[in-house]
Each structure stands twice: as C-alpha cells, then as structure tokens.
Amino acid sequence: MKSQTSEAFYRSLFENALDGFAYCQMLFDKSGNPIDFRYIKVNENFEKLTGLKEAEGRKATELIPGIKTSNPELFEIYGRVALTGKPERFETYIEPLGRWFFVSVYSPKKKFFMAVFQNITGRKGAERNLENEKIATRNVLEDLSVEESKYEALTKDLEKFKLALENVSDNMIITDPEGIVIYANKAVEKVTGYKPEEAVGRKSGALWKTPMPVEYYQKLWDTVKKQKRVFTGEIQNRRKNGEVYTAAISITPILDDKNEVEFFVSIERDITIEKEVDLAKSEFVSLASHQLRTPVSGIKATLAMLVGGDLGPLNALQQQFAERAYQANEREIKLIEDLLSVTRVESGRMTLEPQLADLGQLVQDILADHATFFKQHGQKLLVRLPRRPVRSWVDPDKLRLVIDNLVDNARKYTPDGGTITVAVRRLGTSILLSVADTGIGIPRQDQSKLFQKFSRVASNPPGSPDGTGLGLYLVKRIVEMHHGRVTVRSARGRGSTFTVRLPYHERQP
C-alpha cells in the first residue's frame, strides 16, 4: 500500500469507525510524571460517544473538569503507554461524563497515544442490572432458604405432631365445618374398622351409622357449631362390621381469626368394655343383694312368728332364745344393707336424687320407727324443730340412712333411762341436724377414726352393743355427697353429739 493511499485509508477508517478515536499528546511535569494530555485529533464518533465538543487542541483537564480527581488512573495509564509504547486495554467509568468506556490505547510515537474507545454504559447498566438482579435473586434465595429452613422445622414439628396423633390410642378425627372427615388417625381403624382413607371425605355421622336419637345430634351441633363450645358426652356408634360400641367423645371447634369454625377435632375413647364391666358389677351387686337377703328374710319371717306367739306359746327360756336369734338375724340384715350401701357408694352407683323435702318431717318419720325401742328402754326423746319448717333440696332416702344410723347409734349406746335429743335448725345458708345422747361417750383418741370403714371403738366396755363398723362411714360419705360435713363432740361417760351441717338449698341447686 502506498503511503498516501494508506493515509487516506486510515483517515477514512478513523473518521467512519463506530468507535471513538482520540489522538493525544501526553504532557509531563519536570520530574517526568504525566499530568495532562492534549487532544490533537478526534473523530466524529468521539463527540457522539463522549458528548464532548470542540475537543481538538484542548487539554483534558480543561475539557473535562474534575477528571484528574475522578480518574487519576487514566493519566497514569496513558502516560505509561505514551512512554513505553506498550498497548493496554481497560474499562473505566468517567464520573464527570457519567459514562462507561472500554478503552484500547497504543502509542504510534513517543509521548503521543491513540485511544480507541466504546461507550459501554448500556452494557454496564445491563450488567449492573444483572448484578442487582443477581443480588436480589440471591437475597430472595437466602430469604427462601430461611423460609425453607423454617418450613422444614415446621414440617418436622408437624411430622412429630402427626406421628403423635397417628399413634395415640384414642380415635382422632378432624372434620371440616360440615362434618366431612379430613383426617383420621390409625386408632380409627382399630376401633371402627374403617381405614383412614375410607373415612376421609365422608360425613362422619353417616360413616358410623350411629344409633343415637336425633335430639342427641341437635344438642351436639348446637354446642359445637352455634355456641362454639366443646361437646363432651357418651355416644354409641357402629363399627364397619355392624357392631355397636360405646365411646366417650369430646368434640372441639377450632375457630379462625373471625371466630368462625374452621374445623372440628373429635376425640373418641372406646369404653365398651368399661361399660360392660360396669354393668356386670351393677348386676353382681343387685344379684348379691338378692341372694344375701333371701335366707335372712326367711329366718326373719319364721322367727317373727315364733317370737310373736303365732305358733303357740313359748316358755320363758324358749322365748328368750327365739328373741336372741331374731336380734342376731336383724344384725345380719343390717350388715348386709350397710355392705350393699357401701358397695354402691364406692362404685359410684349411689347417686343423689334431690327433691324439696321438709327435714323436720323426715326426722319425725324416722323417730317413729324407733319409738318402740325408746319406750322399751325407758329412754326419753327430745325433738327440737324450728317453728317454720325447714324445706331444702336433699335426697330424703339417702338422708334417712344418715339420720337412721345416728339415731340407731344414740339409742344403742345410751343406757336405759337416758335422754336422746334430735334437733333441726337453719343457720344462714346451712342446715344443722344434730343427734345428742347421754350415753357412754367416745374417748378423744377414738374420735378421729370414728368415720373410717370397719372402725370400732376399741375401748368400749364389755357387753357394749355390736355394730357393723360401716354406719358412720356411710353417714360421712352420704353427707359429703350432699356437700356437707359431719362432726362429733364427745367425752367418755358424758354422751356424744353428732352434728351434720348441710348446705341449705331453697331452690334446686
């Protein structure tokens, strides 16, 4: 290529190139340090890419104020290239111009350099955006991983919770607000015969084909859905094989933020066997009471006729023996009755059936049964009743047992000619019922054990009447069932006073 042609070629290239071109003279201080450069020749694209006009002939520090501070490295690089002639490439951000450039610099002659550059602000922006996005993504991912670990922990907790639910022995069912099963644990299959997957999606009531009356369900739904309270009760359901079982059930409504039912948690315990055992026990007590009473009833009827002279006159000794036999049989009857009562109390089968009763009248009725005994033994009976009748909600049949036992003890342990005082009075919110005697009394050391089962007063004098050791125990239990208490005040030889304090209930408690 001839030099003229080649100059024209380079000039054309210089003018028409898409890159910016700047041919500059490097300026050094006295020590040889690069301090500035002067634009000698720039192409059209220089202006476009940098936005700098009329650059030729001017110093960089004049053309771009602040460049020395913002881009000191530029002077070093250009100076180095201008002196060494060794080309360099770099990316730089020219802050006063607000632009990024990719610069290739070489030196065609010493102390002069040619900078060829591209505006890469767009790419840098994209890169920065990309970087920002990367950072954002990383942040999101980090957040996600935090969430994920939280989620994992929660899942693990849920797994543990689920495992616990799965393995509890009670039936556990979760339903939606309409009663459709959404979860059933393993025990459901064990008790009902339905696999959890058979139960899920079906209406719980329809599933067990329950033989309960409609009213039961009305009450159940009213409690859990309308009142949003826990329902507890006993329910009879049908197993898959058709067998009916009894369960203790508890249904809890779980409410959302708006206090609406989100779902129901139902826990059921199969109590069929307990129920059967209970029934068997009850039947046993009933049968035992019948079997125990049968012979003593026959003996009682026969001896009563013998003692009463229905079967012809007896001589004095025969009469005495027949009467002893009759009394021994009566003690046997009393023991059987007490034992049966204790069994009922202790098995929880003695329940109170309260009704409004006149306690003074009740006391008088009971005392009438003992009247013959008082008369025979010359015992004086004092009855102190309030002028206005004391009417309260009690179980009169059970209370009869209490009063009867106390009066029976009083007359038994009071010598002939003694006095028995029975009193009833109301004291604020209490009713006080007392039975006092002038009998042999109870030493202080025996008083604490008096209300224990089979407890007998050890220091009673020889010849004292027999007791079953169950009477006062029953008294205490029945009084406690009425939320009352029984106390004794006594001293040896100075009689005893038993006081029963019951809560006064004018209206049904």
């Binding site: 009471s289 009833s297 026959g298």
Partner: protein
C-alpha cells in the same frame, strides 16, 4: 268373700309358708303358687283382692306376671304388693310403672307388718 282372698306367689318355701300361715291365721283366704306361670293361672281362676308377688321366680318373673295379668286394665282392682329382695331403684320404678301398688323389700318386714299392710289395702 271375694275381697278377703289373698294370693302369695313366692318360690322360697320358708317365706311362703311363714306368710301364708300368718295370713290364714288372720282370717284371709290364702292361695299360693311357687312360680309365676302357676300363679298367673291360679290368679285368673281365684281373682284375689291382694297378691303378694315375688320377682325372681322360675317360668314367669314378677314383672312378666304384672304384664300378663293386665294389672292396669282388666284386673286394676287387684292390689299387687311386690315383695322382693331386689332393691334396685330401677326395678322398683319398673314395677310401680307396671301397676304394682306397693314395693316392699322382704328383709325389712315381718308377717305382722304384712297383715297390717294387707288389711289397709283390702279395706
């Protein structure tokens, strides 16, 4: 006199003999049966004014007797005293609902007491 007729339906021989003897001594016309089914047959024939009725008996229980004898209908004038050693309140209520006039627990009464009760019912 028809009204003086008392029937004792009881499978326990000791008790049956004692009560029947005492009631006869007091002038009642007493018939006896030792199971529910025989008692039902005899009651239909004899039409007693008072029946002492045991509950746990062979062939026909006391409760079944109350149902079969139509105590609340055709024989509503006959007074039935259930006389049993069962004291379960549920059984007591059941018998009273089936038409029994009284429910007495055997071990708490003597033949003397029963004479008073029957006299009261037959008045």
């Amino acid at each position: 006199m028809k009204a003086k007729k008392v029937m004792v339906i009881e499978d326990d021989a000791t008790l049956l003999v004692a009560y029947a003897t005492k009631l006869r001594m007091e002038g009642f016309q007493v018939t006896t049966a030792t199971d529910g089914a025989a008692g039902l047959k005899l009651a239909i024939k004899e039409q007693p004014g008072v029946i002492l009725l045991d509950l746990l008996m062979p062939h026909l229980s006391g409760q079944d007797f109350l149902r079969a004898y139509d105590v609340t209908g055709q024989h509503r004038n006959c007074k039935i005293v259930v006389f049993s050693n069962v004291s379960d309140p549920k059984v007591v209520d059941e018998c009273l609902a089936l038409g029994a006039t009284k429910y007495l627990v055997k071990s708490a009464f003597t033949p003397n007491d029963m004479v008073e009760i029957v006299n009261e019912l037959i008045k």
